[in-house]
């Protein structure tokens, strides 16, 4: 038995959920609101494609998910070359042998234990540091860690090569860690 879609109920049932989903990823109320609207309208266009194999919410969320990715892609399209070519590793490491430069070498922060209170503080700092990342790096980091998307999918959607992907993952973490260390001390 297939479940029929019931568009008349969508707003009541899913608007808030979809809005929360978009807001968690975009951090912009107006943008999130727009995407919810776009999602419902796009879903109406492809009503006949809803097979009832998943729930309505899953189906609508999938449509929204790709709209979020579109926003990531658009936001990071400017300064693209900079975000791929800009190389912080050059700053952190010695050019000749790749060794940590003394000024940038990780120091013990005291968060390496499992203290939940320290982790709470760390979360606040991490949030700020994430916002400082170039948009492309932030988007890819989120897609990996928040949505746990497959590497291939991220590369496809964000139009980066696999090797660029690993470079970005590397740089994002180097930056985040350095940013945290700076804020912690």
């Amino acid at each position: 038995m297939t479940i029929a879609a019931d568009p008349k109920q969508w707003v009541d049932r899913y608007a808030d959920y979809l809005y929360s989903y978009a807001l968690a990823r975009l951090d912009n109320e107006e943008q999130a609101r727009d995407l919810v609207q776009e999602t419902f309208l796009a879903a109406l266009e492809k009503l006949d494609q809803f097979r009832g194999g998943s729930t309505e919410r899953t189906w609508l969320t999938a449509i929204l998910k790709y709209k979020v990715i579109d926003v990531y892609r658009k936001k990071s399209s400017g300064l693209r070359a900079e975000q791929i070519d800009h190389a912080p590793e050059v700053e952190f490491f010695e050019a000749e042998n790749g060794h940590w430069k003394e000024a940038y070498a990780p120091q013990v922060l005291g968060v390496e234990n499992e203290d939940p209170l320290a982790h709470k503080e760390l979360a606040t700092i991490l949030q700020k540091c994430l916002q400082k990342l170039p948009v492309l790096w932030h988007s890819i980091f989120s897609m990996k860690h928040m949505d746990e998307m497959a590497t291939e999918t991220i590369c496809q959607e964000m139009k980066v090569t696999q090797s660029n992907f690993w470079v970005i993952i590397h740089r994002a973490k180097l930056n985040l860690r350095a940013c945290i260390q700076k804020a912690w001390g």
Binding site: P7, K8, W10, V11, D12, A15, D16, Y19, S20, Y21, L23, A24, R33, V36, Q37, F40, L41, L44, E89, F92, F93, N97, G98, H99, W100, A105, P106, Q107, V108, L109, V111, E112, H119, L122, A123, L126, Q127, L130, F141, S142, K144, H145, M146, T151, W166, V167, I169, H170, K173, L174, L176, R177, I180
Partner: protein, 90 residues
């Protein structure tokens, strides 16, 4: 510089491998390079610990934001409902 020495000093490459390994399997060569490097570099061992903690904290952060319930205003909902009703009756 010998091959081993090169690996021992190259923290840039080691940290790259540390990150890569969190998301995919490394090649045999990469695994050996990383093992050699980490056995002699306490700084990169520290980096690895911190990197994993960042992942954990990021995940908790994301989960928290994902579970936050935001609500849309009634005006939006009414307008949205109207648009849907309109489209359905076309």
């Amino acid at each position: 510089m010998g091959v081993i020495k090169k690996i021992q000093y190259n923290c840039r490459h080691a940290t790259y491998l540390i990150e890569k390994r969190q998301h995919t399997s490394l090649s045999i060569k990469e695994r050996i390079q990383l093992a050699i490097h980490l056995s002699g570099c306490s700084v990169c061992r520290l980096f690895q610990r911190q990197s994993r903690i960042i992942n954990r904290v990021a995940k908790a952060l994301f989960q928290r934001s994902a579970s936050q319930r935001h609500t849309l205003d009634d005006t939006f909902k009414r307008e949205m409902q109207d648009r849907i009703n309109e489209k359905l009756s076309e």
